[in-house]
Symmetry: C2
Subunit: 794 residues, 2 copies
């Protein structure tokens, strides 16, 4: 096992130690104060029940550990002049981080009302977990935060995302022993195989073992230390263990650990940046083992509290009614000796502030944690240069994502120097046909490289790992620190990150309302390898429901696009890469697809988000159509156009309008989504009383959920994926789900009143074609030649 290559350099002077301890005590006092106090913040009078909040909410258990880390990070940032960011992983870390940012002054700079004095301290206490106040997590309103710690599991991935392409940044990351049990966190340890010591910053994980979760011990706190040590070495780290339940000894050990870790990081970076490629470095990790609720009540009502799960939330719960609890609370709060920590006006003393760095070096004031401040717009190429030529609709086919790959290759190339764009995906970049990007950047990889490998790159900016959680977590961290990216994913498996996107949308929704947070680049998904083309993967790979999931979220934040061909995909992507503070979902196929629109047409169509394709329909003059054939998604568009062609041939007198929808939120009422159409627009496009046969890419009821308030809704009939999935051919998939051209024609005939008698024969002909399909596929395993060879002839 590797030895430390640097001698630990930290020996605290007594002054330093006193300052650190004062800062820690002050933070602990402020954390406990937030949970309990409504008045008398400085304990200038004896504590009485009316000083106590009516509802005691909040979590003490994790606070002293986080305060310890914040205090010691302050020391090393100041001593070494570091640019640092800290990701606070443990749940309910709010009281701690709020306390520290108030101490360092960054909080009051943003929220002047919560001033750094007694009045402000009172407000700091009152607002915590109070209606209209601040939540108990390290939410967006907390300065210095890029990670809430509400839903656990993502801290380390966020930390890596923040560190990528930030070579001068130190990203510390506190991982709770609860969070460490989650899958996403467990996977995140291997992120060090993707961190480039030359172009990326450093991540310093601090695994905080306080031993307990809500009501149970934590696994990693209950395995022998050599086993934990082996685990961390197996993750590729070099562990530094700090265990303490005595403040002085803990300060000394933790200071030494930080110095060792930072010396080691400096050594790694120096070697990589000066000496070029070497072995994959073994980055340090600090294992900090301190009691849960350290310095809080040891025993309450005869039961041990500090150092147990009972310290998790509110250790003394009866303080308003139980004089003994009140007495214990007062003794606890006074044990920090607030009179030494704050002056008569409630301002922190010089001793308390002696370890705190200045200005933007303070953790609550660094620009990376308000990444929009640092965002540089992407140098985006003109999509025209990548557009496919379209002389007539449907005259050619392209693989849309392959066309997009060429465009992205240029984005990757043009960001080679500034390094502010990353493409992430779970081992699917090539499978999703975006492999052109490798011309501009290889795949980030710090593990072993063999002769046979292709496109692996110690300095690559294309990220591939078989973990949607890591892709998402890395990208979130990257975006929240102000850079840009795109996540390409198999459509079905993006559900793996359903809960992560929820949290990111919530973050953006909340951050948008904060005056001081600058907008950050949007989170962009490219969902491909979609439900209709899982020819050999079958049912387990068929799920178009992410769109439904996303559209349940805050409409201010979410956008969904279903470009029907290559040029519309280019146009949509060019758009989303310019946006801020959104979650953009693009669904597009990778299989050959007809080119319907020229680039100019595509641009105009995408700008409208939905529109009539006059060339595809049979409307004439000012007369309203007899029926609207609407479509959203590449495969539905193809089937609708094929149906329109059949109708033109067999029922030429029928006035058919073809409408294509790219931006699905256009269907929503204007008041419910910023992209929602007015009723005037909607009625103009879809009519108020003509049948609308809508072929949709995903679950059909989504369209009803979006459009149920529209006048014409009673005559809206939607076809889409209805869980009739299996391993089969492309056309069989649409037949199974009643989305095929023949079924659509039958739908039209069934819905349009007063058709010629001949229509019944046409309907039978369509039904016969479906029967013919079933027989053919059983015999040949392929699609009917008339379908496989179909092209649009108008």
């Amino acid at each position: 096992m590797p030895q430390d290559d640097q001698q630990a350099s930290a020996v605290l002077t007594d002054d330093e130690l006193r300052g650190l301890d004062a800062h820690w005590r002050a933070a602990n006092y402020l954390a406990a104060g937030q949970i309990y106090l409504l008045a008398n913040p400085l304990l200038t009078e004896p504590l009485s029940p009316e000083h106590i909040k009516p509802r005691l909410l909040g979590h003490w258990g994790t606070s002293p550990g986080l305060n310890l880390v914040y205090t010691h990070l302050n020391r090393v940032i100041k001593a070494r002049g570091l640019d640092a960011l800290c990701v606070w992983g443990p749940g309910h870390g709010g009281p701690s981080v709020l306390a520290n940012s108030w101490l360092e002054g960054s909080y009051s700079e943003i929220y002047p009302d919560v001033s750094r004095d007694a009045a402000g301290m009172g407000r700091l206490f009152r607002q915590f977990s109070f209606p209209g106040g601040v939540p108990s997590h390290v939410a967006p309103d907390v300065p210095g935060s890029v990670h809430e710690g509400g839903e656990l599991g993502y801290s380390l991935a966020h930390a890596y995302g923040a560190a990528f392409d930030n070579p001068d940044l130190l990203v510390a990351c506190v991982i709770g022993d609860g969070e460490a049990e989650t899958g996403p966190l467990a996977a995140s340890w291997h992120s060090n195989k993707f961190l480039d010591p030359v172009h990326d910053g450093a991540v310093l994980p601090i695994l905080h073992l306080n031993g307990y979760k809500i009501a149970n011990p934590a696994v990693l706190a209950r395995i022998p230390e050599p086993e934990l040590d082996a685990l961390l070495r197996g993750y590729g780290h070099d562990p530094i263990h700090v265990t303490g339940d005595d403040p002085v000894q803990t300060h000394r050990a933790l200071a030494e650990a930080f110095d060792r870790a930072l010396d080691r990081i400096a050594g790694i970076q120096r070697a990589a940046r000066e000496g070029g490629a070497g072995e994959r470095p073994r980055w340090p990790v600090i294992v900090l083992r301190t009691p849960k609720g350290f310095t809080g009540p040891a025993e309450v009502d005869g039961k041990p509290v500090a150092g147990t799960w009972r310290a998790h939330q509110v250790p003394l719960s009866g303080v308003r009614d139980d004089p003994e609890h009140l007495r214990q609370l007062e003794a606890w709060l006074r044990s920090y000796r607030p009179e030494e920590l704050f002056d008569a006006e409630g301002r922190p003393t010089a001793d308390v502030l002696s370890c705190v760095p200045e200005g933007p070096r303070r953790l609550g004031a660094g620009p990376h944690a308000n990444g929009g401040l640092l965002t540089r717009a992407l140098p985006l190429p003109d999509p025209d240069r990548f557009a496919v030529a379209v002389d007539r609709p449907g005259g050619s086919t392209h693989e849309p994502t392959r066309v997009l790959g060429d465009y992205l290759e240029e984005v990757v190339r043009d960001t080679a120097a500034r390094r502010n764009f990353r493409l992430v995906g779970p081992d699917e970049t090539a499978s999703n046909r975006l492999d052109a990007v490798y011309e501009s950047s290889g795949k980030a990889w710090q593990a072993q490289i063999l002769q046979v490998d292709e496109h692996l790159d110690r300095h690559g900016r294309v990220m591939e790992v078989l973990s949607e959680h890591l892709c998402q977590g890395w990208l979130e961290g990257y975006l929240l620190t102000g850079r840009h990216g795109l996540f390409s994913c198999y459509e079905a498996f993006v559900h793996i990150v359903d809960s992560m996107v929820n949290q990111h949308v919530k973050w953006l929704r909340t951050a948008r309302e904060l005056h001081w947070r600058a907008p950050v680049p949007s989170l962009n998904y490219l969902l491909t390898s979609h439900v209709w083309r899982q020819d050999h993967n079958g049912f387990s790979h068929q799920d178009p429901g992410f769109v439904d999931h996303v559209l349940n979220r805050s409409p201010e934040v979410v956008r969904v696009y279903l470009p029907p061909d290559a040029n519309t995909l280019l146009s949509v992507t060019d758009h989303v890469l310019r946006t801020r503070d959104y979650v953009n979902v693009i669904v597009a196929g990778k299989q050959p697809c007809f080119d319907w629109l020229s680039m100019d047409q595509a641009r105009a169509h995408c700008a409208r988000g939905a529109g009539t394709w006059d060339w595809a329909g049979t409307e004439t003059g000012d007369r309203e159509p007899d029926v609207v054939l609407a479509c959203a998604g590449d495969v539905p568009t193809q089937e609708v156009l094929a149906a329109a062609q059949l109708l033109r041939r067999h029922l030429p007198e029928l006035a058919v309008r073809v409408v294509n929808v790219v931006d699905i939120a256009r269907l929503m009422p204007q008041g419910e989504h910023p992209h929602g159409m007015s009723d005037f627009e909607y009625d103009g496009l879809f009519t108020t009383d003509k049948p609308v046969i809508f072929a949709y890419h995903g679950y059909p009821w989504l369209i009803h959920r979006l459009a149920y308030r529209r006048t014409g809704h009673p005559d809206l009939h939607v076809r889409g994926y209805k869980e009739m999935g299996t391993t089969t051919t492309p056309f069989d998939m649409v037949v199974r789900n009643d989305l095929d051209r023949y079924r659509l024609v039958m739908d039209v005939i069934d819905r349009v009143p007063g058709l010629a008698v001949r229509a019944a024969a046409v309907r039978q002909r369509m039904a016969d074609a479906r029967t013919r399909h079933h027989a053919w596929i059983r015999a040949h395993g392929t699609d009917l030649p008339e379908v496989a060879d179909w092209t649009w002839t108008g």
Copy 2:
């Protein structure tokens, strides 16, 4: 580090070696045959293009490794008389597992058409990845499978789930090096801290490093072996490394590894079962390192294939057009010497079958993998014994989940001997107020136990780990092997397993269509700590969308219940624990909630799924009501009843009907869900033309999506959660989302035509109450006394 306590006992005889190799070659031949051959299965004539499938689909890369494991498992099962199950984790393992089950005869017993002869071999080949045939994953149609391997990450959790409470079962689990990068798999390694060597079976993980995923090397294959070894020791395992690219040497090494591993497992189990509690055992893990596509083409078109990512899918893709590819394919297939492996009729030779165990010991024929065969109904207590007494509606309050906890405690107690019920949850059993269950069983825990701990139990059946993925994966494995369980979870965070529930629903949907699969106990969720009561957790903990997610899935499988009080929760739970092959979602609060229905009433109401609460409304005689106030969920029910009471007081002449919906799918059309109401029923309950004000627990548009086809839909107005979340009081939450009693009364007044002039004054009074609320909460941080102290008086 621990030493093996047993000497390796395997020395293969030459005969054994020959038999193993023959079996492996046969399986490899059959796997490749499935990918390529449409005819000429035994290569009795020279291979020509017309023998080749028109579309080459399938994945060769993983097959030889899986075949090797299957072959060697056969040997040890036979030699040791084991009851075994294998979970095949790698994606696209279909060709391999199908080949092996065909060889051992289990496949043909289930599918006689695919007989164990040349004709059957032809069908085996043809059906693979063919329309109407079988998918390329180890899907439900594959005998012996409880795990599809489509969406990666869950194999090891499934394996542990299968092993719990199956003391005589060996569960082998092949983990691909791709899957090993996922979060859920990374977390699953720690499952060994929850496996009781006395009452549970053994899990033998086999980490298969073939080096590559689709297009990238795998992380664990590219770290130094000592680092990987440390990682696995850190996970608490004792690794046995087998590396080989020579068949004979690999057979010998793998046989020895299996014998060492099984000796060690036997030793652990013997010690635990005879000697009582000792140290947590270090279970073995086999690390098998063989080339991807081992024995397949070494080079194609001048590029290396075997041992690289190029072997992932179809190594020779041009065989129908390129004579050189065809020649290479023929040479490859003939390299297995099929003439030695199959007799003239295409039956496997005695040599091939020499390692195969008999009857139900065959991996494809074991009953555990068709767990419904082994299912024993739960001994469920009479819910009446746990019911809360209800003299009059709303006369008392209870915490519904705490009442349920008493019921579950008895279920846990009554299954103490048979051990076929487990309760899982992410560290939330106590937080969700189900802690009564600890009276009957402690929490499963094999790591260190301290004096201060409570309810930790080496033999516990309550499972708590801070990983929703593990809870879900364990439970799935437990259910699919025929046992019962319940997963209690915070409502917002169950989205973490969105994709897992998708896959489980797909499994059940497919399995239900297979004549030979016996129904298995349902997957039951209890979602609590729900959106309306996140008083101190705030926005990040507020998300009721899992219901929407689940209702997008196959209606044959999914059921959703929103019991409004304690007795209805008892009734619903009693029901779901009796069901098979469903995913049941129950949403119920843990906070004090009014008791509305007696147990008899609750039972009748839940059986109907939706019904009028006559006592709550003001209808008289046969007259239709003026308005319907509908509700689903505990908080909406309370607000609707409060609104009904306000209406009764202020507008007594208004005929109000109160409808409560427990089974939300009742709202769907009859043809779209088995629980869907007929239009006749729906119209009788909701009327066809009266305004319906529906207060729903979750996203309001869900109700529209379910009911949009109903006659009365244009006058259906839904209130629900619309993402207006924050840290605040219970009543403020409903006000923010316009679900409060005052708003509902205003809605009624706004929608019912022809109300008395006085109604305008009532409306103003309601608006004033909302204003009063806002002022009060700002001042006091609590809810208005009139709300906090509200009770139903009728």
